[in-house]
Structures are given as C-alpha cells and as structure tokens.
C-alpha cells in the first residue's frame, strides 16, 4: 500500500518533469519509426523473395525436356524467408546468406549476406525496436533513475523517510513501481503498433499472439530488472556522480564489451576450418570412404555385386531398372552421409563458439534477453541452422526424385531419354516450416534462468539492505 503511494508520487514527479514530454515523444517516435521501417523492409524483402521464388520455379518448370539427371543439375534455390517478428528484431538476418543454390553432388553454402552490400556503417547496426529496447531504454532508465536514492540522501529526506517507519524495501519497490509505470507508458503504444502490424502481416508468415506476448513479457521483465538494478546502484552510491558513473559502466560492460568479447573468445577457442579444408575433407572421404579404406570404386563394385545377387542376373543391363540411375543415387546417398558427418563436426564447432556467448548470458542480463528475443523472432543462429537443414533435406529429396525417374523410366546407357514438365512438376517448390516456439527457445533455457537469477539476486540484496537499515 505504502509502496503504491510512493509509486504514484514518483510517477507524478517524473511525468511532470519539463523534459518528460520531449523524452516521451522522442522515444515513442523512434520506436514507431523503427517498427514502420522494419515493416517496410520486411514487405520489400518478402516481395523480392516471392518474385525470385516464382521466377526460379518458372525456370525450373520451363526447362527444355532433358535427361532427368541433367535437369537436376539445373538446380533449385532455397530463399531464406523473413519472419514477421524480424521487423521487431532482425537478429542475425543481416549476417546470414539470403539464398542457397541446391544441386546434385554438392552442398553449397548460403550466399549474399545483406551486410556485404552495406557500406562501412553497416557495422553500426540497423534501427529496430529491439535495438532501442535493449540498448537505449536501459540508458534512459539510468538517466531517469540514477538519482532515485542519491537525491533523497542529498536533500536529507532519506533519514526522515526511514524515521517515519517506511522500510528500505517499501521505499525501493515504491520507486521501482513508479519507474515501471513510466516505462510501461513509453513502450505500450509502440508495442501495440507492432502488434497491429504483425496481425496485418500474419498472412505473410507466422505471427502468434502467444509469441508476441512472450516477447513483450521478456522485454518488460528485462526493463524492470534494469530499473531495479539502477535504483539499487543509486541506493548504495554515496552521491549521484558515483551512481551515474557506476550505472553507465555496467551498461557499457554488459551491452557493449561483454557481447563482443565473448564472441571473439569463442572464435579464438574454437576456430572454424577454411572452406578449402572443409571441401577437401569431404572430397577425400568420398573418394576413400569415411573410414579411409573404402574407395568409391570398391563401394560401386560392392553395390553392383549385391544387386546382381539380389536379382539373380549376370549383368547390370539385365536389371529391371537403369543401373546408372541407381548407382548415381547410391553415390548421392553416400555423399550425403559424408557431408552430414562433416557438417555435424562444423556445427559442433559453431555451437561451441556460440555456447560461450549464450553461457555469458548467465552473468549478463542484456545478452540473455538478446538471445531470447532473437529466438522468439526466429532470427537466431539455431533457426538459421534449422532452415539450412530443411533446405538440405529438400535438395536430397528433389535430386532423389530426378535420379528415381532416371532409374525407373530410362534404360542403361540411354542418355537421350528426356523428362518433361510433368516430371519437373512433381518436384514441389521448397517450403520452410518454422520450428515451434518451444523448439526455438530450447537452446536458451539458461537465458531464462539467468534473468530469473538476476531477479533473485536483486530481491536478496534488497532484503539484506532493508534488514541492515531497519535494524534498531
């Protein structure tokens, strides 16, 4: 009850401050501009992607009739979709390739990272609601709240307040609640705006109300944590200069230095192979077998022997299907196995690199929230990895279909056999299914625990201080 009265008083004082209308207007305008800009960018990129998909699909279908294996070599593409939530937090989208070329015998990497086409300022980031809420709002909270207790101490109000029987925790939570009201006032409208745009765009992609509420809730939890942290720093600081310097140092370490350092450290500890090393290792294993003693020719000979025995024939020309198509698919399956082996090794290294950063989120609430935000918005590393895997599955599927047509509908040695549109049409266009929210958030359980842990620490600290101050 007392805390509520203090909260109302704090809220009234803050909103009556002469700078508040300016700060409110500027922050709201920035948020609205960033949401609108994100929407515009999303719309543009979706249109570009849709156009490219339709064009490439048309090209695939309108190929001249040709041998199915040659048609497979014509290839297909997987274009990285933008999620509706990406207009809130673009995450890693700027640094992940936007398309991959899918062809037989090879697994290509993603090409055309949007950052490659940006100028030197691309590394300064792009304005988005997530950038504002993660980096700028904490600063705003520091500027509003750094003098919360030091002002009371300076004007000698603090002793009078305690003398009237108000405990430290009551005062603290009252001030905290007042600031929470102010922050809520500042983020409500932009979030509503984002929500409306998200619903409007839901026909373009998945937009679930549950995810939106979880996103909003995570940011609110984070900002409330920042408010509590700022007030705590103010409470323990001798004067306002120390309070603001300490708060700003923490902001700098948490939001600028630690993320960069942990990513750099991850790369140093778990260096990635070069593209040349990676492709050479795959080529070597395909030539000599994964165990190094099972060459390509030996494998082919073994398959041939087994088939001849299975079908009780003396030569491959007597088989009831085109042996060349069959062996091509066997080769494709083996190369997929080899690729999976090396891809898994590569992903393990990437995972170790990123785990260091995710792990650092345990001591850094900013990084914990950043990871959660990217995960909910589907713009994190693991969503991109999921897309990569689905694209690879599609590649194997359409190559298998074309090899299958060659195996069952053409004769051995007959390279004049031509498949037409009816065969090409059987290959359905690639369609990506976003993982469920639970699956997206699974790698970031620790991030949620970290935010919860920080809250526990702050509550504990407040209780200890309250107990110390209110001791007779």
């Amino acid at each position: 009850m007392l805390s509520t009265i203090i909260a109302q008083k704090e809220f009234r004082e803050l909103v009556r401050h002469k700078l508040f209308p300016i700060v409110f207007c500027v922050s709201t305008l920035l948020m609205l501009v960033s949401v609108w800009g994100g929407y515009d960018s999303f719309r543009q990129q979706q249109a570009e992607r849709r156009q490219a998909e339709e064009y490439q699909r048309m090209r695939w279908l309108q190929q001249d009739p040709k041998h199915p294996h040659i048609a497979a070599h014509f290839g297909n593409y997987a274009f990285l979709p933008k999620t509706v939530f990406s207009l809130f937090d673009a995450g890693l989208d700027t640094y992940t390739g936007s398309l991959v070329y899918l062809e037989p015998h090879k697994q290509n990497d993603f090409s055309f990272k949007p950052a490659e086409a940006g100028g030197s300022s691309v590394r300064f980031g792009m304005l988005s609601p997530s950038l504002i809420l993660q980096s700028l709002f904490p600063l705003l909270i520091i500027f509003i709240g750094f003098d919360g207790f030091t002002a009371e101490r300076r004007s000698s109000n603090l002793k009078m307040v305690y003398a009237q029987g108000i405990s430290f925790s009551q005062l603290f939570w009252g001030k905290w609640l007042g600031l929470v009201y102010v922050v809520l006032l500042m983020i409500l409208l932009p979030f509503l705006f984002f929500f409306i745009i998200g619903l409007f765009l839901s026909h373009h992609g998945e937009f679930s109300i549950g995810s939106a509420l979880l996103l909003w809730g995570s940011y609110l939890l984070f900002l409330c944590l920042i408010i509590a942290f700022t007030l705590l720093v103010s409470a323990i600081s001798r004067n306002r200069k120390i309070s603001i310097v300490l708060s700003l140092c923490c902001w700098l370490v948490f939001s600028v230095l630690l993320p960069k350092w942990s990513a750099s450290m991850g790369e140093s500890l778990y260096p990635l192979p070069t593209k040349y090393e990676f492709t050479e290792a795959i080529r070597r294993d395909m030539e000599k077998g994964l165990n190094g003693h099972d060459s390509k020719s030996e494998r082919a000979e073994r398959i041939k022997t087994n088939l001849l025995a299975k079908y009780h024939v003396d030569s491959v020309s007597q088989l009831p299907f085109n042996f060349e198509g069959y062996i091509m698919q066997q080769g494709e399956d083996y190369s997929s196995m080899v690729y999976d082996h090396h891809f898994d090794l590569l992903q393990q290294k990437l995972d170790k690199q990123n785990r260091l950063s995710i792990g650092t989120g345990i001591i850094n609430p900013y990084m914990a929230l950043r990871d959660i935000s990217m995960a909910i918005c589907g713009t994190d590393f693991y969503t991109h990895l999921d897309f990569q895997k689905q694209a690879e599955q599609y590649r194997r599927h359409f190559v298998q279909m074309m090899n299958g047509d060659m195996t069952w509908y053409s004769h051995m040695g007959d390279w004049n056999y031509k498949a037409g549109k009816e065969v090409f049409r059987k290959v359905t266009p690639f369609s990506y299914s976003l993982p469920s929210l639970f699956k997206k958030l699974q790698p970031y359980c620790w991030s949620f625990c970290a935010l919860g842990g920080w809250w526990l620490i702050i509550i504990l600290f407040i209780q200890i201080r309250s107990h110390k101050l209110n001791r007779p």
Partner: protein, 477 residues
C-alpha cells in the same frame, strides 16, 4: 608569464589526476582494452594469413602434382588418362586451379573493418567465374553480428567515453565544490583555465593513443618491412583528430555551464546519437532493395545443349569479339565441342558481368545516400577513414573483386583456352609460366584528406562555439 602559468596548471592537473584513483583506473582500463584490441586484431589477421597461406600452399602443391603428370607412366590406362588431363587444354581448363588471395594490409590488424564478411581467397579455374565466387563460405553469423574487438573499436567507442568520464565535470565540479568564485579572482579568465585543463586532458588521451599506436606498430612491423608506415602515421593522425573532436565537444558542453549530472547525460546522449542512433537510423531509412536474389541465376551450373547449332551459335558470337581466333577453314577442329563450351562460358560470364554491374551500381547509389547522411557524423567519418587506410572496408573488397574478375577473364581463361582455340595441346613450359594473381590495394588519399578536413572542421566549429558561449556567459561564472 604564460609559459609559467601553463606549466603550473599542467603540473597541478597532473597531480590531481594521479591522486584521483577513479580517473587513473579508467585510463588504465582503457589502455588495457586497447592492448587487447591490438592483440585481437593481430591474431585475427594472423589467422587470415594462415588460412591464405594454407590454401595457397595446398593449391600450389596441387598445381605441382598436376604438372608432374607430364612424367607419368603412359603405358598404363590410368597413366594415359593422367597425361591427357595435363596435356589436353579441354581437361586442364577445369582441373588446373589458381589461387587469388586478398591478403590483409598491415593496418588491417588495427582496423579489421569488413574483412571478416568476405572470403579471403578464391580457388579458380576456367569454369564460370561467378559459379566459383558467389557460392558463399563458412562463417559464424553470430560472430559477425557481434563485430570485432579491434583497436579501432576501442578508439571509436571507448575513447569518447574516456574523454567524457575525465572531462564532463571540468567546470561544473568547481561549481559543485564552491571553488568557482575563488577561480574568478585569478588573473586569468575561467574560460582560459578550462581551455588549459581541456588541453591537458587532450594530451593525456593522446599520449595513451600514441603508446597504443606504437605498440600496435611494433607488433605489426616486427620482422617485416614497414612499407605502409606513412599510412600508419595517417592512421594515428585520424585517431588524434577524433580524440580532439571529442575533447572539443566536452569543452563546448562545459561552455554551456550546465550542472554535473546534466553534463554527463548530455555527453552520453550525444555519444549514443553519434555512435548508435544516427548510423542505425540511416541504415534503416536508406536500405532499399538490394536485389541479391536477382543474382541467383549467376550461380547456376552452366549447361549447354551438345548440339552443333548451339555450339556454332556460341562460337560465332565469341568470334565477333575475337575474330583472330576464327578458324581459316570451315572444317571442325578436334576441339570443336570444347571450344564451343568455352565460348559459351565466356559469353555467359560477360552477360553476368552486366548483371553484376547493375547490382553494384544499385548498392553504390544506396551507399552514397548513407554516406551523405553520415557525412557530418564524426564517428562514422573516423570509421570510414580507418577502413580506407587499412583497405578493410566494403569498397576495398569491391576493388579486389574487380581485380579478381580481370585476372580470371584475362589470364585464367586464356591460360588453357589460348592453346584450345589454337588447336594445340598444352606444353610443359606453359605451366612453368602460369599466371599468378598479383594485387596491390590502392588507397584514395584525396578522399582521406577530404574526410580528415571535415572532421577537423567539425572540431573547430565546436571549439569556436565553446569560445563564443564562454564569452557570452562570462557573467554567469
């Protein structure tokens, strides 16, 4: 008299500084972060050099093994095939690989820039250029997103905070302590005192920058030629001018006679505007359609129908460009189909060149708008300068890609296709004179001096404004 005053004041400031543990600690932390930035940049570039050397060694080794096939035993079927691979230009063109590397410049260790976004080397043969270069590489998008902790990052982001931390209360602290009326009794003006104090702080931050630069240079040039030393000096000049800009900014803030917390808030707010908000807003507003998806077709495998009409069509269009290669008689050469395919690849790449040119023009137009928008942003200007000196920006990469394309078009393609179109086999001597990619990045000094002048101009505007406000508000002191 003035010299004595300067000396006295400097001495006094020095004593105050060393007695203030927080300020000493801040400077020390900045210095240590700078050392880490140098170490990080150096190890990243060393890693890139290792990758380039390892790939180059492997490819050169493969080249040597390939050339050794001239001496293979041709009495066996396999030996004959291997001999044909090296002797027939139609086989050699896709089996003999070249390496082209974009080696880091010496200053890249101090400014990694965009180098981590692009591949550092390419393995090329006479196959379509764009198939070989557009298919992406291995990278960690999460690491790219977080950026690099090099010395340039420390200077761009942390140096202003150091200057703000050491100077935001340069005048207001005297007011807070109640010493200001005493200062006003001095024979020199308070404004002059603040100028000298600012100068001292500038010398302090510049000294740290100089020490970091020296350490960076020693690490860079240890055991190497110092050919880029003049550029390294320019790099230091940029850092010093950037430091002067922020020191002038603090001087200007002090001239407004605000209170200590307001000084801190305004200073940090400007830091946020220049380093976070304004560039991010520009990237949002001016990022339009890039059209990368239009380039998808360039990566597609190049197949042509193996019909006489398709071959003839490709060859006739090729001979329009190279009439000297057109055969004198109408009989088909034994290399006819191979010539047709090479012609097809060459012409496809020419068409792709125009698609790429359109793409680069679009990118350039967008980036020009962003450059104009950011032209008065000291942080972005300084960042541009550092990247231009280290040739580690996206414009440097574009120049490299153009050199790469020229190498492929003029050297790699003709290495095997010249004998192919002359209906000759390869000779062993051809391989001994195989082309080698040589690329020297160019630094546009005019652009650098211009941007430096802009930065200096902004600094002088701040200094002049500070003078003006100090004179105007003399009575408030």
């Amino acid at each position: 008299m003035n010299t004595i005053l300067y000396k006295t004041l400097f001495l006094h400031e020095w004593k105050q500084f060393v007695r203030n543990r927080a300020q000493v600690l801040t400077l020390l932390v900045f210095f240590l972060l700078g050392i880490y930035g140098i170490h990080y940049g150096h190890s990243e570039m060393a890693e890139q050099e290792i990758k380039i050397t390892s790939a180059t060694d492997s490819i050169v080794h493969a080249q040597r093994s390939f050339v050794n096939l001239w001496h293979t035993d041709t009495t066996t079927k396999e030996g004959r095939y291997q001999y044909e691979t090296v002797a027939m230009p139609s086989l050699a063109r896709f089996n003999y690989n070249f390496v082209a590397a974009n080696r880091p410049t010496e200053l890249s260790s101090l400014t990694i820039g965009q180098r981590d976004l692009f591949p550092v080397y390419y393995r090329l043969n006479a196959q379509s250029f764009y198939i070989q270069t557009l298919k992406g590489g291995i990278y960690n998008p999460f690491k790219l997103y977080n950026g690099n902790f090099d010395l340039t990052f420390v200077i761009l982001y942390l140096l202003p905070l150091l200057i703000i931390a050491n100077g935001f209360d340069i005048l207001s602290s005297e007011k807070d302590l109640g010493v200001l009326p005493l200062l006003q009794t001095f024979p020199v003006s308070v404004a002059w005192l603040i100028r000298v104090r600012s100068l001292f702080r500038y010398f302090l931050s510049s000294s740290v920058l100089l020490i970091l630069w020296i350490i960076g240079i020693v690490v860079l040039y240890h055991g190497q030629e110092s050919g880029s030393f003049p550029y390294a000096c320019l790099w230091l000049l940029v850092a010093l001018v950037y430091s002067l800009f922020w020191q002038s900014f603090i001087y200007f803030i002090a001239s407004l006679k605000l209170s200590t917390p307001v000084n801190a808030i305004v200073s940090i707010s400007i830091w946020i505007f220049l380093l976070l908000l304004l560039p991010a807003l520009g990237n949002l507003v001016f990022s339009g359609k890039k059209g990368a998806t239009d380039l998808a077709d360039l990566m597609r495998s190049k197949n042509m129908p193996e019909t006489d009409s398709a071959m003839e069509d490709a060859l006739q269009r090729f001979y329009v460009l190279y009439p000297n290669l057109q055969p004198k008689d109408t009989s088909k050469s034994p290399f006819y189909y191979f010539q047709g395919y090479s012609a097809f690849l060459y012409l496809t790449d020419l068409r792709s060149d125009s698609v790429m040119r359109n793409y680069y023009s679009r990118i350039d137009r967008q980036n020009k708008k962003i450059r104009i928008y950011n032209s008065l942003n000291a942080a972005v200007t300084a960042n541009d300068l550092f990247q231009e000196l280290a040739v580690s920006g996206s414009s440097g990469e574009m120049v490299f890609l153009k050199a790469l394309r020229d190498f492929h078009k003029e050297k790699i393609f003709w290495f095997t296709n010249k004998p192919l179109f002359a209906n000759h086999y390869m000779q062993e001597s051809d391989y001994l004179h195989a082309p080698v990619f040589a690329y020297t990045p160019n630094i546009d000094l005019r652009s650098i001096w211009w941007k430096l002048c802009v930065l200096l101009g902004e600094t002088f505007v701040l200094i002049w404004s500070g003078h003006y406000f100090f004179r105007r508000n003399k009575e408030l002191l």
